[in-house]
């Protein structure tokens, strides 16, 4: 403490000047006050480390100054100056918290020694304070990092189990109880086998500890828990390289496995859906070699015609599959624009007409009176409506009827396609939007299709915030209603 600031309060000028001189030589900065009032004023204006004050002064005396300092600036060291006759007063001052006292008269050296001691005390105090602060920061840091680890540990989705070298559980996180479906309470302090009833899991930990290697294993549902788990078990060594236990994490991979299974199922389904028509085509190729040799040309022609149809169907199936996959992945950009309802319906009817005429099916359009618009991607919507109309024609016997009607209700337009066709049974109805689902039976035997049309329609309709409603009675007909929000201000 080289730059210590010292305040000297004394009503005797000689003392003030003498102390000031003695201390200034040592490099201290000394400020003088002639009485208690001025001393307190200075204390409030400037910082001081040490105050030398006379006890007996007119006005505010040394005791009052000492009291004020102890009360307001406890870090300031006070040295009282007193005459020999009043040593008892100096003792009282010491009891009140003064650091030391100096009896008058005193030599400059003596005052220096006392002040040096005070400075030393201040320095030690400052050092102690510094250490205390550092220690506090250190402890806080440890506390924080511990609580941080605890938080991380507690929030982990993976189950974590920590064991000692005897496979006794010493720690676990909340997820462990949940994921591993542990019923034991408490888990800590007991062998792993008490909480995990799966032999392979217990052996995995033993193996990791014994061989000091990381062991990774998967557990199917019904072994450790009802979930599909992937476990990593690592041996833990101390800083000295001593094996002290193991840490095992269990990850719930049920969702991954489910997606995996769905993917495999889908691939298998696609493979089958592609292979079945190809097998038929191949069979027809075989038959046509024979048919064209032995039979009259008509069987040869018939086979060729069917081969063409089946090949085209196969290609459109692949197209539909690609479209569906694009729609589902959300990569398709819908270019929404306001479209007049009647315009798109008439467009669809025009495309579907030849198909209907070929079966002598009467196609009628029964529009509502209101001229309505909706915000749609024209191409996608036309394909969707076309699919519904085309299904109506396909599944309606010759001479039947397909009626397209519209109605406005509650900000929505209901576009209904009603046919007098073969209908859909109650059992089949819930599945018609499933991919590759096709109603099988005598009536549908000769109707070809990919089984993807309605799945596509559903994707398109939902992308336009629409709904689909299907009503059907076998042998009476089917009515499909697509509902879409109307375009505002149009």
């Amino acid at each position: 403490m080289d730059d210590a600031r010292i305040l000297i309060i004394d009503d005797e000028k000689v003392i003030r000047e003498g102390v000031s001189r003695a201390l200034s030589k040592m490099g201290y900065e000394v400020v003088k006050a002639e009485d208690g009032d001025r001393g307190l004023e200075l204390l409030q204006e400037q910082p001081f480390n040490i105050v030398l004050t006379d006890l007996m002064m007119p006005g505010i005396d040394g005791f009052a100054v000492l009291d004020w300092i102890r009360e307001n600036q406890p870090h300031v060291q006070v040295i009282v100056i007193t005459g020999f006759a009043t040593v008892s007063k100096a003792v009282t001052a010491m009891k009140q918290g003064a650091f030391d006292f100096v009896g008058k008269p005193f030599t400059p050296d003596y005052i220096r020694v006392v002040v040096d001691r005070a400075i030393e005390k201040l320095t030690l105090q400052a050092e102690a304070e510094q250490l205390r602060k550092e220690k506090k920061i250190g402890l806080e840091a440890i506390d924080k990092s511990q609580s941080r680890l605890k938080t991380v540990f507690g929030c982990m989705a993976e189950a974590v189990l920590v064991t000692d070298t005897d496979s006794v559980v010493v720690h676990h996180n909340p997820a462990a109880i949940k994921i591993l479906e542990i019923q034991t309470d408490p888990v800590i302090g007991k062998p792993l086998s008490a909480s995990i009833r799966d032999q392979a899991a217990v052996e995995m930990v033993t193996e990791a500890i014994k061989k000091s290697i990381v062991v990774t294993r998967e557990f199917v549902p019904g072994t450790i828990s009802r979930k599909y788990l992937r476990a990593h078990c690592s041996p833990v060594t101390s800083d000295q390289g001593l094996l002290i236990g193991s840490v095992t994490t269990f990850e719930d991979i049920s969702a991954h496995k489910e997606i995996d299974r769905m993917k495999s199922d889908f691939v298998a389904m696609v493979a089958h859906e592609l292979k079945a028509p190809l097998a038929s085509i191949e069979q027809m190729i075989y038959a046509s070699q024979i048919g064209c040799e032995y039979e009259e040309m008509n069987s040869c022609n018939a086979l060729h015609k069917r081969m063409t149809v089946r090949t085209k169907d196969l290609l459109s199936l692949i197209d539909n599959l690609l479209n569906l996959s694009k729609l589902e992945s959300g990569t398709v950009v819908f270019n929404l624009e306001p479209v007049r309802g009647t315009e798109i319906i008439k467009d669809v009817i025009e495309i579907a007409s030849p198909q209907a005429e070929g079966k002598s099916i009467t196609m009628t359009y029964d529009p509502c009176e209101t001229d309505w618009w909706f915000n749609i991607d024209y191409d996608h919507m036309r394909t969707a409506i076309m699919n519904i109309v085309s299904n109506g024609v396909k599944y309606t016997p010759e001479g039947g009827e397909v009626t397209i009607s519209t109605a406005i209700s509650g900000g929505f337009v209901n576009l209904t396609v009603k046919d007098s066709g073969i209908g859909i049974s109650k059992e089949d109805l819930p599945h018609i939007f499933d991919r590759f689902f096709r109603v099988k039976g005598k009536a549908t035997r000769h109707i070809t299709g990919s089984g993807l049309g309605l799945a596509l329609v559903k994707e398109v309709v939902e992308a336009h915030q629409g709904y689909i409603d299907v009503e059907s009675s076998p042998e009476v007909g089917t009515s499909v209603t697509l509902s879409f929000p109307l375009a505002k201000n149009a």
Binding site: M269, A287, R445
Partner: protein, 129 residues
Amino acid sequence: MAEKKKILLVDDDPDFVEAVKVIVESGGYDVRVAYDGQEGLEAVAEEKPDLIVLDVMMPVMNGHEACEKLKGDPETSGIPIILLTAVAERVTTSTYSHRDMLESEAEDYMPKPVEPVELLELIKSWLEK
């Protein structure tokens, strides 16, 4: 001229039926068709064929079921049955394995697609027995 032998062909794919029909007819047989197991049994009841070519995977009643029913009935148990199976079907549905074929009471089986010459030879050999 001896009367043409009657072959019943059962498969749910009309194009496949049509194709195999052309092949079998080229061998000089009288071919009748049905599109599922149930229809197949009905066709047999209506007119007893000399041999049945039966697809395994069909809706309503599959080939195995139809085969069991035919073999279980003394009236029809003597009719030779050739089961047809597609590789694709065996892969996608674990229901119909190679084992099923061996355990079946059917006289013989052939993979799909059917090789015309092989099928005709197989039919011929079973009709001669």
